[in-house]
Amino acid sequence: MRVKIKKPTGGQISIALLLLVLGILMSMQIKSVRQSNELKNLEKARAIELAEQINQLRKENVSLRQQIYDLEIKLKEYQDSAASISKTTELLKEELDKVKILAGLTDVEGPGIIVTLNDSKIPSQSNVDPNSFLLHDSDILQVINELRAAGAEAIAINDQRVVSTTEVRCAGPTISINNTRYSAPYIIKAIGDPKILKNSLEMRGGIIDLLKEFSIEVKIEEASKIVIPRYTGVLKFNYAKIKSEGS
């Protein structure tokens, strides 16, 4: 049986009016919800945009560094050609090369050792401070100090050349070297007499003994040829000036 639907016209009009109001409210509500969502998305989009900018700047940085490198090769060519002209410029160039090695402004190679340091693999125990099984900036500093004392001529940590302005500093869970952050493992390369360098690190009661006590992983390799890259940052002297003679 079909159910008969009552359709009083007056009632229908009032229902229609109510539905009209409902429709208006509904779409207004949808609009406002969408607006608030857009606001949230806007913040997300901003973060993404900033991340992209960082990436862009990094790329630019790499290409600029390449440019520096190219220009320096050109400069070296000029210096070489100048050196072939006269004896004085040749001597000057030798001096310049030595100073460059000292300042870490050129790639160097030679015999030396590679020290690999890594955090302890021992699972952390509840009653032991977990910090003591991690590598710290001071550990690396001690290793570098020892290498210097043993006559290392060039040192790099994770391919960051150690120069006079290099910092080795704790930066949260990472260590900041030349303003670049690295986490374990740390690979320290040093050019010098491999035997002396190795022995100085491994002497009794020395730094390696100390690190092994905390079961920090240490690996020392001797190598006949190590390449240590140049310092890639910018050396700026805002305060230090050469003292003028006679004043």
């Binding site: 007056g10 539905l19 779409s27």
Partner: protein, 120 residues
Amino acid sequence: MIVLVIALLIGILIGLFIPVSIPQNYSSYVAVGLLAALDSIFGALKSNLKGDFKVDIFISGFVGNTLIAMLLAYMGDMLGIPLYQAAIVAFGVRIFQNFGEMRRAILIKNKSFSKEEKNQ
């Protein structure tokens, strides 16, 4: 019925093109009110199918439920109790119940038709 659907569509269009939207603070109250209104409409559809639809009941339910739902949500905010959830649960359950009854009514109706056709 067609008049009602058209009225709803016109309302939605008006709402979309009016350059006014509901302020963020009142948005949650309006949402609960809309739910109550939807419940009333489902109730009306159901009673329409069953044949005991009454305009005055529908209108009073539509307006009353909406207002009470909004008031409840507002009071909940004042008291620090999420009372709007009560409205959501109550109206949500009722919408499903109404829909279930409508479904049943329509299916049973169709079945009885087909039986009659077979008998003929």
